[in-house]
Amino acid sequence: MASKSENWDLKATKQLLQEYLNRNLEEQKKKKVLPVETVEIDDLNKAQALQRIREFTDAIIEKIYQNGRPSIFLPSRTTGNIIWDEENDLLLLGKQIMEKQFHSLASVADMTRLMKVLEKVNELLLKDLHATKREIFYSAVTLFGDQKNSDKCIEDVASMLYTTRNSTHIVASAKGSCVGRLRIRDRNDIIDLEGLGGGGWTISPMLDNIEIIESDAEFILVIEKDAAMMRLAEARFWRKYPCILLTAQGVGNVAVRMFLKRLSKELNLPVFSLVDSDPYGHYIHSVYLRGSKRLSYESPFLATPKIKLLGVLTRDLDKYKIPNSVRIPMNKQDIKRITDLLNEDFVKKNKKWEEDLKLALKLKIKAEIQAFSSHGFEFLTDIYLPEKLTTGDWI
């Protein structure tokens, strides 16, 4: 183990960055191609979205004139219709289409709600405003009944128009924060994320208003927990190691994921995640990696396929001599989650990851990031992270 005073040279991370830069040059030459059996989702601008809405409503009125029985076709979002694209390492929506009929008891309420959401989307687009899911729900509480219904309809509307949620101007509530070597512009405000103290900048859900100005970071670190983030912020981690820190306080919501995607795309930086050494942590990493199943149709706009799992790995527990007192035995739910993860195709393809999960399954032990505090509070920032980043000890 290296001592605290040692000056770390993040050799491996720099190497990775160089690699990305090179690959990026190549990739710019060839365009990304999605597999044929999947639905193509476009990120639309305002005018395009409005155009699509118009086409859609015209079709419905046409149908009403035909037989008075309007119906909607939209891609099915059941698990059976979600396809993992191996080449691009993304979860995508298949070509299964389902029809919602107005004159059916099962879907009449859904249809009306959809239309309501569409009306709101139309309004938002026209006025160039953004609204949260909650706002949509409160626009017609009696019709929606429960926010679950409106949330579902919001997702349906996006997939119905073959566009991203972001293009519908409906945003998730802000939950994540970001700090580090980055300068952005939010409409007219220029924000320097280095000078925001320990709290950092709350990631805005209205990302189309955000413009990334500049950054001299060498990597991006996504942290699962606020507590760990605070530890790093207090240590001014980015001063020593030029980086951008990001947290979503749990599973990455749409705004955080989209922001991360933009950062990594525009800045072309290596991305690492630091999560708890438990199945849930691994799951959080997988959501950043390829998107959640529910929003699979938006995966190309939300996922960051090049994200690396930096820690805490199961094997690190022994390597860094985490004492037994902070190791927690797994419960049934953990084991189920881990076996579920092991069944996923993208895990099976990644041998190192599979190995680590299997090790976790064997030991049936989990630990949190805070477990390092048992070696002293500075252990995480001064030894663990630099050592991992230097040696390239990631998955």
């Binding site: 118009r54 015209d58 009125i61 004139y65 107005f102 004159h103 008891l105 009449v108 249809m111």
Partner: protein, 1088 residues
């Protein structure tokens, strides 16, 4: 007397009322049935009920008013009559005059009772029951220390077979039943009910019983007033006297009893349920509150007469056998068995006797050999005798006769040989005993074991042992054979015992052992016991099942439909008649087919038979062109419409026609209630033949049938058509109903697992021996029997399956109804959102359409999918017209009829047309119902140019304007089509009938049958009466003559004529041509 009352258990309480009703109503129903069955056996009976006439009981309501008026009078009358009767009770030796007065009073009562039905009394099977209450004399109630005790007068009349004088004398005595001679499926049979009721009646009130009865062969009815005595005799107050009767045949009983105050829910329930199971008899009940409750006859035929049934050995108990043997006149036991029991053949009789004899041989230690007998000794010291009949000359006769010779075995060798054989026999016997014991043990163990597998094993073991017993029995026979051979071989060694002291003992013994030779009446106790055991030990074939007569599932279904007033599309008005309209459909089809056949005679001949699918298609075709929302049309127009439509049958569209038909069936039956009955094939369990049937009604209208609050109101139990109201929890029927898993059939249940819901469930068990299945003397509940419960369960499950599919169907209907209302609710919100979007865009619809229009379109589309789209395009005129011309040439007569029918509406139509210029087939309304696509297609067909994007209303307008121009050009051709459509759009009545008939169920006509009102059906007179009014007047003179005189003088030989004479006389009196006076209780007539 008190003891006897307790025997049948008449106790104060609400039930007592219904007990009285039970006893007499059941008798009445039996009497009516007996009468009917007797009459229909005669080929030329003129007395029988005229069942084919509609019951004219509506008229009863008219008389009801009259009765109500009378009610007050009758109360007064009652009071006075009570006084009189009390007087009468004291003075037993009445003067003749007083007797006369009393008899007249009886007749007055009878007349009053029969007044509402007097015109029906000879032609309609009818029972009239009247219950009246009055304050009892105070000395009667004081000892009872019960308040609310009232005096009740029950009167019951039936026009059944009536009682002859001889029968009448016996009536009221215990065990004097005319029904217990041979057993058949009747309601009561033992002769306990009526006598016990009588004794209770006189015990509580001290008033006599009044009975009047008349058979169809008697001129006068026989009336009497009497008490029954503890010696099972009758003490007459009025000895049977001849009286005039207002009825041709029947019985009238009147008695008084004390009881707690009448409340509804007992007697009326009993009568209602009786009427349910006996829809072939009209029942009239007048309750103490003066309310008339009428249950008119609902069917036009009686049930089949049940056959007399001999008892089956398995159901016979020792007492029955004893009784039968005591009465028997047979010479041999074998003959007796064969004659008195069903399923006993000569072979089985022999087997029974063999077994009995074997048993007796063991008991009396005397073995029967092939020839002679040998004693079976137990100890070595016992003497051994061989007995044999030999021809000897003895006594005074010189001819050799059979004589019992007794030999004894003396030599040791013989004794040893004998002992060798006998010890073997004894050994077998011991074996048998031990096997018996093990069998008993095994059976006991079987009862305690739960698993089926082990039970099976034990049964296997028992079977094995039984086989062993058979083997042993064979061995025993072998030994007996050996014994015989041994005796035969060693005849020389036998020593004849000439003067044997206990000779008679042995003779008795031989007689005892030989059951086969004994006379049944002379059987000894031992013999009888052995015989009974043998009789019971043999397996018999099940009894014949033709002795059990069910009510029948269709009858039950229809009775329920009528009783509750269920709404059933396939409801039927008449059970026997085929529906005339359906017949006419068939006939028309046949005619048309024949016509076509003549037309196409050059080509291959057409299939001239009409099958169901043809009818189906033509009816569908009519339906398809028929406006569902329109109102009912004239059924007379159906045929002509039908004729035209018929010609358009094409093979390809068969299936789509069927859809139309199904749609209509659904629409028609969606509000239907449910009724289903199931009659199981007769079964015989444990020697009893019986048949189980059940009916279940499910009613959607709570006014007609609400969900009963108590579980017992759901289930009605019947045994031999008799309702059983008490002890329901213990009854096998209840248990069977509880054993059904009603949740499987989408029914809720009460806590005791009886089904819950707007239900009525009837279960009837019928059979000649059902009285043996009762749990107790009160005959209120059936004993548990595995077979019986299983039968009922299967029966109910069959109904349950039908109910489930009905309820499922109903559910889907309800859902679709709910759907339309729910969908309608969402339409405005949907359209509003849609339009809010459209408003902001540059859509082409922005100005073209309005939210209202869209809303209307969508609303109209609700439920539209279910209406099958079929042939909205008009029938091609060019096709129809030549055909019509051709057919005009061929069958002239028919055509004329057609034209008459058709022309009239055409004339009217064309007048209307002049006013309304849009003279094409389709009105604006119908066009609006079409979808845009259909409209466009339609207009294309007619050459109307329409821009592809125009709105619906525009299209319709264009079509209509097209009609205007077209009308001027094409007037003559369009007219035919016009008229057709007009006809088509009216609702043909018989469609309903057809739809339902498709399901193989009895068909109902929804049109009410015109009922004869105020018209009273007359007796069918097959031959002209010999007597005319003139003749009667000629016979009458200035002297008082009674009916017997008149009959004599008119030389009347037939009872029918005598009856006719009575009626004529009545009429003449009414017309004031003849005077009538009652002298000595008999009507006398003379000319005025």
């Amino acid at each position: 007397m008190r003891k006897r009352t307790q025997l049948v258990g008449f106790e104060f309480g609400y039930w007592k009322h219904s007990q009285y009703i039970t006893e007499f109503l059941d008798n009445s129903l039996d009497a009516i049935e007996t009468f009917h069955w007797k009459e229909i056996e005669k080929t030329d009976s003129r007395n029988k009920f005229s069942l084919d006439q509609e019951t004219a009981l509506e008229n009863l309501s008219l008389i009801q008013d009259f009765l109500e008026e009378e009610k007050h009078d009758s109360v007064d009358k009652e009071e006075s009559s009570i006084e009189k009767e009390e007087e009468a009770g004291e003075i037993i030796d009445k003067e003749e005059l007083e007797v006369e007065e009393e008899v007249r009073r009886i007749l007055d009562d009878l007349d009053e009772l029969l007044k509402p039905v007097v015109d029906l009394v000879d032609i309609e099977p009818i029972v009239v029951v009247r219950l009246r209450e009055s304050e009892p004399a105070s000395f009667l109630t004081s000892e009872l220390s019960q308040k609310n005790v009232m005096n009740y007068t029950i009167e019951i009349f039936d026009n059944g077979i009536g009682m002859s004088k001889g029968d009448l004398r016996k009536f009221g005595k215990y065990l004097a039943s005319s029904k217990s001679v041979e057993l058949k499926q009747t309601r009561g049979s033992q002769g306990f009910g009526a006598p016990s009721a009588f004794s209770d009646a006189q015990n509580t009130t001290g008033k006599p019983i009044i009975v009047a009865s008349k058979t169809s062969n008697m001129v006068y009815a026989n009336a009497s007033e009497f008490f029954t005595t503890s010696k099972n005799e009758k003490r007459y107050l009025i000895h049977p006297v001849d009286v005039d009767s207002p009825f041709g045949h029947g019985t009238y009983i009147k008695l008084n009893y004390l009881n707690v105050k009448y409340v509804r829910g007992y007697v009326d329930t009993y009568i209602r349920e009786t009427a349910l199971m006996n829809p072939h008899i009209t029942i009239l009940f007048i309750d103490p509150y003066g309310e008339n409750i009428t249950y008119p006859r609902l069917v036009s035929s009686f049930p089949k007469q049940p056959k007399y049934a001999k008892p089956h050995p398995s159901s016979t108990n020792i007492g029955d056998l004893q009784d039968l043997i005591a009465k028997s006149e047979n010479l041999t036991v074998s003959a007796f068995l064969q004659e008195n029991f069903v399923r006993v053949s000569p072979k089985t009789a022999k087997e029974i006797i063999n077994i009995a004899e074997k048993d007796l041989q063991n008991k009396s230690n005397l073995l029967i050999l092939e020839e002679g007998f040998i004693t079976k000794s137990k100890k070595k010291e016992d003497p051994i005798y061989f007995l044999k009949n030999e021809k000897r000359v003895y006594g005074r006769s010189e001819k050799p006769r059979d004589k019992m010779i007794i030999y004894s075995l003396d030599s040791d060798d013989l004794k040893n040989d004998y002992w060798n054989l006998i010890s073997e026999l004894i050994k077998w016997d011991k074996n048998l005993v031990s096997i018996d014991k093990t069998i008993i043990k095994l059976n006991r163990r079987k009862e305690t074991i739960d698993t089926k597998k082990e039970q099976k094993n034990i049964t296997k073991e028992v079977d094995k042992l039984l086989k062993e017993i058979e083997v042993i029995n064979k061995q025993k026979e072998d030994i007996k054979h050996k014994l015989y051979n041994f005796v035969k071989r060693n005849v020389s060694g036998l020593i004849e015992q000439k003067k044997f002291p206990s000779r008679t003992d042995y003779e008795d013994l031989i007689r005892e052992v030989q059951i086969s030779k004994a006379k049944p009446v002379e059987l000894s106790n031992e013999q009888f016991n052995s015989l009974f055991h043998a009789f019971k030990s043999i397996k018999y074939m099940g009894p014949p099942t033709d002795t059990a007569i069910p009510v029948g599932d269709t009858v039950l279904e229809n009775t329920l439909v009528k009783e509750i007033g269920l709404k059933i599309s396939e409801n039927i008005e008449d059970f026997d008649e085929p529906v005339p309209n359906l017949v006419s459909v068939k006939e028309t089809l046949l005619k048309e087919k024949k016509k076509l056949e003549i037309l196409s005679s050059e080509d291959a001949p057409l299939d001239s038979s009409v099958n169901n699918s043809d009818i189906e298609i033509s009816v569908s075709r009519i339906l398809a062109s028929y406006d569902i929302l329109g109102n009912n049309g004239d059924p007379s127009e159906f045929n002509s419409t039908f004729n035209k439509v018929f010609k358009k049958i094409d093979e390809e569209s068969r299936s789509s026609y069927r859809d139309v038909l199904n749609y209509f069936t659904d629409v028609h039956s969606k509000d239907d209630d449910f009724v289903s009955a199931e009659t199981r094939p007769p079964t015989s369990g444990k020697g009893l033949a019986y048949v189980v049937e059940a009916a279940l009604a499910y009613c959607n209208d709570p006014k007609k049938l609400d969900t009963p609050k108590r579980s017992r109101d759901v289930l009605s139990r019947f045994v031999n058509r008799t309702p059983k109201l008490r002890d329901s929890a213990e009854c096998a029927i209840t248990k069977a109903v509880q054993s059904v898993n009603w949740k499987n059939y989408k029914l809720d249940t009460f806590d005791n697992n009886l089904p819950k819901g707007p239900l009525k469930l009837l279960v009837n068990v019928s059979g000649p021996y059902v009285h043996l299945m009762f749990k107790s003397q009160s005959k209120n509940s059936l004993a548990d029997d595995e077979e019986l419960i299983k039968e009922i369960k299967y029966c109910l499950e069959a109904i349950g399956r039908r109910l489930r599919s009905y309820l499922n169907k109903k559910d889907t209907f309800r859902k679709s109804e709910k759907r339309s209302s729910v969908i309608e609710r969402y339409i405005p919100a949907f359209v509003e959102s849609l339009f809010n979007i459209v408003k902001t865009t540059e859509s082409e619809y922005k100005d073209k359409s309005s939210p209202e229009e869209l809303e209307n379109l969508m609303k109209e589309a609700i439920g539209k999918k279910t209406v099958p789209k079929l042939t909205p395009e008009p029938i091609n005129e060019t096709q129809i017209i030549p055909e019509e011309k051709e057919s005009k040439e061929l069958p002239k007569k028919l055509e004329i009829e057609w034209e008459k029918e058709v022309e009239k509406p055409v004339d009217e139509k064309s007048r209307i047309e002049d006013q309304k210029p849009e003279k094409e087939t389709f009105s604006e309304k119908t066009l609006l119902k079409w979808t845009i696509k259909e409209l466009i297609e339609y207009s294309k067909e007619f050459g109307i140019s329409i821009s592809p994007n125009s709105k619906k209303i525009d299209i319709i307008k264009k079509i209509q304007s097209h009609y205007k121009t077209e009308a001027l050009i094409e007037k003559p051709t369009v007219e035919v089509e016009e008229e057709l459509v007009k006809l088509v759009s009216k609702r043909p009545e018989s469609i309903d009938t057809y739809i339902t008939s498709k399901e193989g169920k009895p068909v109902k006509k929804p049109s009410p049958k015109p009922k004869p009102k105020g018209k009273i059906p007359q007796t069918v007179q097959t031959t002209l009466p010999v007597i005319t009014t003139d003749k009667i007047i000629a016979t009458l003179n200035n002297e008082w003559q009674n009916i017997t005189h008149l009959i004599f003088r008119l030389k009347i030989k037939d009872m029918m004529d005598a009856r006719y004479l009575q009626n004529r006389l009545k009429e003449l009196v009414r017309r004031d041509k003849v005077e009538m006076q009652i002298i000595k209780n008999k009507k006398h007539w003379k000319l005025k």
